[in-house]
C-alpha cells in the first residue's frame, strides 16, 4: 500500500507536466483544428525562459533590496518567474501563430502541421546554436522539505507541482466555460465559418488560444525545471509528442479531458516503470493508449464528429 501510494505521488507529479502540455495541444486542436507540432518545443523554450528569468531575479538580489527574509525571497522569485515566463512565452506562441499558421489558414491542415514541425526543429536547433550543446542547471528555487505521512514521503516540490498544474488546468477550464472569450473559443470550435459573421475576429481568438497554451507550457517547463533541474534543447520532443497523444485521448476541445489524459499517461508510465524494466515504458504505455482508442475512438470527453478534413 505504501509502495502504491508513493508511486501514486510520483505519478501525479510526472502526469502534471503531460497535463499542462496536453491542455495547450488540446486547445489549439479544438479551436483551430490544427496539430500544433511545435508545442513540445514551446515547452522547452518556456523552461529556458524560466531559467533566464529566475537567474536574473536571483542575481538582482531582492533580499537586500527589499529587506525580506531569504526564504520569502525565494518564494517570491518562484512566483515572479512563473508569471513573467508565462507572459513572455505567450508571445512566443503568438509569434508562431502569426508566422507559421496564419498564412496557412486557407491551406490544407496537413501543410500547417508541417510548418509546426519545422518551427519546432528551428526552435531546437536555434537553441543549440545559441546556447551550445551543454545542459543547463535550473536554479534551486525551493529548499526541498520532506513530509512523512503514513510512511509515504512527500516533498514540498511535488505538492507545489501537482497543485499548480491542477489549479492552472481548472482555471483554464473555467475560463473557457464561463467567460465571454471562452464562449468565442467554443463557438469557433463548433463552427469555423459562422463565427466571423457574429463579429468575432478569428485571428484574435487564434492568437489568444496560442498565448494561453504557451503560457501553460511555460508553467510546465518551470515546474519541470524545479523537479528535474537539467535543461537540454531536445527535452521537448518526446514530451510534446506524448502530450499530443494525451490531448487526443482526452477528446477534442475538452480541457479537463486533456488534463485527465495527461495524468493518466503519467500514471501508466510510472507504474510500468516500477513493475517492468523501464525500457518497456513506451511500449506498454502506447499499447494501453491504443487499446483505449480502439474502444473510445473520440477520447474520454470528445463528441463524435464527422469533420471533413481540409486536405
Amino acid at each position: 500500500m505504501e509502495f502504491f501510494l508513493q508511486n501514486l505521488i510520483n505519478a501525479l507529479q510526472w502526469g502534471s507536466f503531460y497535463a499542462l502540455i496536453a491542455v495547450g495541444y488540446s486547445m489549439v486542436y479544438g479551436v483551430l483544428f490544427l496539430f500544433n507540432f511545435a508545442h513540445g518545443d514551446v515547452f522547452m523554450v518556456g523552461a529556458y525562459i524560466g531559467f533566464f528569468v529566475s537567474t536574473f531575479l536571483l542575481a538582482a538580489d531582492l533580499t537586500s533590496a527589499l529587506s525580506l527574509p531569504p526564504s520569502v525571497t525565494l518564494g517570491l522569485v518562484l512566483v515572479m518567474t512563473l508569471i513573467i515566463s508565462m507572459f513572455l512565452n505567450s508571445f512566443v506562441g503568438m509569434l508562431i501563430e502569426r508566422i507559421g499558421y496564419r498564412p496557412l489558414r486557407a491551406a490544407p491542415r496537413a501543410s500547417a502541421a508541417i510548418t509546426g514541425l519545422m518551427i519546432g526543429i528551428i526552435l531546437e536547433t536555434g537553441n543549440l546554436a545559441i546556447l551550445g550543446p551543454q545542459r543547463l542547471a535550473f536554479p534551486e528555487l525551493i529548499q526541498t522539505a520532506t513530509i512523512n505521512i503514513a510512511g509515504v514521503s512527500i516533498t514540498n516540490k511535488k505538492i507545489l507541482i501537482v497543485g499548480v498544474s491542477i489549479l492552472l488546468t481548472l482555471a483554464l477550464h473555467l475560463f473557457v466555460r464561463r467567460s465571454k472569450w471562452g464562449m468565442a473559443m467554443r463557438a469557433m470550435a463548433y463552427d469555423y465559418v459562422v463565427v466571423p459573421l457574429m463579429g468575432i475576429s478569428t485571428n484574435t481568438i487564434a492568437l489568444m488560444t496560442f498565448a494561453l497554451g504557451s503560457a501553460l507550457a511555460a508553467a510546465a517547463g518551470i515546474l519541470y525545471g524545479v523537479a528535474y533541474p537539467v535543461l537540454d534543447p531536445n527535452m521537448g520532443i518526446l514530451f510534446g509528442w506524448k502530450a499530443f497523444v494525451a490531448a487526443i485521448l482526452g477528446g477534442r476541445g475538452s480541457i479537463l479531458g486533456a488534463g485527465l489524459a495527461g495524468f493518466l499517461l503519467g500514471f501508466i508510465e510510472i507504474f510500468v516503470a516500477t513493475i517492468f524494466p523501464s525500457t518497456m515504458r513506451n511500449l506498454i504505455a502506447f499499447g494501453i493508449i491504443l487499446v483505449i482508442l480502439i474502444f473510445r475512438p473520440h477520447g474520454f470527453f470528445g463528441e463524435p464528429h464527422s469533420a471533413q478534413l481540409r486536405l
Binding site: A107, T115, F286, L311
Partner: protein
C-alpha cells in the same frame, strides 16, 4: 497577354520572356537527347575531371556539384563555377542542342516499338549516367542510393497522405519493421559468425535471394499496417494520425527491448547486397508499380474517397476496402525501403526510425507535392541533395532547411509539383513536332 500590362511589360514579364527566349532552342530536345547529353558530361568528368579540378586549385573533383567546396572554402567559388560550366553546363548545352534532330529521329522510331523496349532503353541510359557519375567517389554512391531509397519512401507515404488524404505518422515504424526483418533474414541465412550462428545457405546465393528478404520485410510491414488500419478506418477524422503515431512509438520501443536484434545498440554487419544497380532497379520498380496503382481504378477510387467519402460510396466505391488496400500497399513499400536502407548503411538501431525520420519523410512529401509521383521524386531527391550539400553548415543546416520548407508551405501549400499525373508514354515522345502546350501539361 492581359490588357492591363499590354503597353509596358513588368520586370517579371521581361525576365520570363528572356528566359523563354534562352530556352527556345532546347524546346525540341527529347528526353533521349538530355540523357545523351548527360552521358557525355559525366563521361567528360570521368576523363578530364581530375586534371581540370587540380588545375583549378581543387584537390579532387567537387563531389556534389561543388556545393560542399563552396561552403567550406568560399575562395574557390570562381573555380567551382568554371568547373561546373566546363564539365556540365557547356557539354550538356551543346550536345543536347545539336543532337536534337538526331535524337528526335530515334525517339520517333522508338515510339513505334512497344513501350517496354522504349522504357528499358531510356532506363539503361539513365543508369549509365548514374553509374559513371557515381564512379568518381564512394560518397556519391552513398548519396545516390540514399536519394533513391528516399524516393521509394516518399512515394509510398504520398499514397496515404496525398492520394488518400489522411495523415499517417507511422512510416518510420513500417520502415523499421522492413529493415529489421530483412536484416535478420540476410544475417541468418547468408552470414556466418554473428549472433545468429553459421550461415544456413551458401553466401554465394545471397545476392539472388536478397529480393526475397526485401519482400518479406515489406510483407511484415504490411501486416503491421493492418494493426493500424483495422481500428483507424472505422471513422474518419484525425484518428489515423494518433493511432499511427502510437504505432510508431510501439515499434521503436519493441525493437529497443528485443535483445536478439541488439536492443538499443541495433544490428550491424548486414551483407553488402544493396549496391547501386540493385537499389536503382528497386526504385524503378517502385515508381512503376506505385504510378500504375495510383492511375488505376483503385487509385481513382482513392482520390474519390479523399474528396468526398459519401459521394464515393454512392458511386459504388468500397471505401473501407480501398483505404485498407492503399494503406497496406504503402506500408509494403515503406518496408522494402527500410530493408534497402538497412543494407546500404549496414547498421541500424531503433533511433534511426524515430521522430526525426518522420519529420524527414513528411518534409519530403510536402516539399515535392501531394498527389503527384513527379513531385515525390523531386521532393525526395531535392531534399536529400540539399541536406547533403548544406552539410558544411553543421547545425545551421537544420535552421535553413525548415525555413525553406515553411516558405514553400506558405507560398505553395500543397508542395512544389502537386496534383499532376506522371505520364510515362508522353515522356518519351519526340519533341520536334509536339503541339504547343502539350509539353507544358507534362512538365
Amino acid at each position: 497577354m492581359t490588357t492591363i500590362s499590354a503597353s509596358w511589360p513588368t520586370t517579371r514579364q521581361r525576365i520570363r520572356a528572356a528566359l523563354s527566349k534562352l530556352w527556345q532552342p532546347y524546346r525540341p530536345v527529347p528526353l533521349l537527347g538530355w540523357l545523351l547529353a548527360a552521358l557525355v558530361a559525366v563521361g567528360m568528368e570521368q576523363l578530364v575531371g581530375l586534371p581540370l579540378a587540380r588545375t583549378l586549385g581543387m584537390s579532387k573533383i567537387p563531389a556534389l556539384f561543388g556545393a560542399l567546396v563552396v561552403l567550406d572554402q568560399p575562395a574557390l567559388i570562381p573555380s567551382v563555377l568554371l568547373f561546373l560550366i566546363l564539365i556540365y553546363i557547356l557539354p550538356v548545352g551543346i550536345v543536347a542542342r545539336f543532337t536534337a534532330p538526331f535524337t528526335n529521329k530515334i525517339a520517333a522510331r522508338l515510339v513505334s516499338y512497344p513501350l517496354v523496349i522504349t522504357a528499358v532503353i531510356h532506363l539503361l541510359l539513365l543508369y549509365a549516367v548514374l553509374h559513371i557519375w557515381c564512379d568518381i567517389s564512394d560518397y556519391r554512391v552513398l548519396v545516390a542510393r540514399m536519394a533513391m531509397i528516399a524516393i521509394i519512401l516518399t512515394l509510398s507515404l504520398n499514397v496515404v497522405n496525398g492520394y488518400m488524404g489522411e495523415f499517417s505518422c507511422s512510416h518510420p515504424g513500417f520502415m523499421a519493421l522492413g529493415a529489421y526483418v530483412a536484416s535478420v533474414f540476410t544475417l541468418v541465412f547468408f552470414v556466418s559468425e554473428n549472433q545468429f550462428g553459421e550461415a544456413l545457405v551458401p553466401p554465394a546465393l545471397g545476392p539472388f535471394l536478397f529480393p526475397l528478404a526485401l519482400i518479406l520485410g515489406g510483407l511484415v510491414a504490411a501486416v503491421g499496417a493492418l494493426l493500424v488500419a483495422i481500428p483507424s478506418f472505422r471513422t474518419r477524422g484525425d484518428y489515423l494520425a494518433i493511432i499511427s503515431l502510437a504505432f510508431m512509438f510501439i515499434v521503436k520501443s519493441l525493437f529497443e527491448n528485443l535483445e536478439i536484434v541488439g536492443g538499443a545498440r541495433g544490428i550491424s554487419n548486414q551483407p553488402n547486397y544493396a549496391s547501386l544497380p540493385v537499389v536503382f532497379a528497386w526504385t524503378v520498380l517502385a515508381i512503376w508499380i506505385i504510378n500504375n496503382f495510383v492511375r488505376s481504378t483503385m487509385g481513382k477510387a482513392l482520390n474519390a474517397v479523399r474528396d468526398d467519402e459519401l459521394a464515393a460510396t454512392a458511386m459504388t466505391v468500397d471505401t473501407r476496402k480501398t483505404k485498407m488496400t492503399a494503406f497496406l500497399f504503402a506500408a509494403f513499400w515503406a518496408g522494402v525501403a527500410g530493408g534497402l536502407f538497412a543494407h546500404v548503411l549496414r547498421y541500424i538501431n531503433p533511433d534511426s526510425f524515430g521522430i526525426r525520420k518522420l519529420a524527414e519523410v513528411l518534409a519530403m512529401v510536402y516539399f515535392g507535392g501531394l498527389n503527384s509521383v513527379t513531385g515525390s521524386i523531386v521532393g525526395a531527391v531535392g531534399l536529400t541533395m540539399i541536406s547533403e550539400a548544406l552539410r558544411p553548415l553543421e547545425i545551421y543546416k537544420w535552421i535553413i532547411i525548415p525555413i525553406m520548407l515553411i516558405l514553400i508551405m506558405i507560398f505553395r501549400p500543397t508542395g512544389l509539383i502537386a496534383f499532376t499525373e506522371f505520364n510515362v508514354e508522353r515522356l518519351f515522345l519526340p519533341k520536334d513536332k509536339a503541339p504547343e502546350g502539350a509539353e507544358d501539361a507534362t512538365a
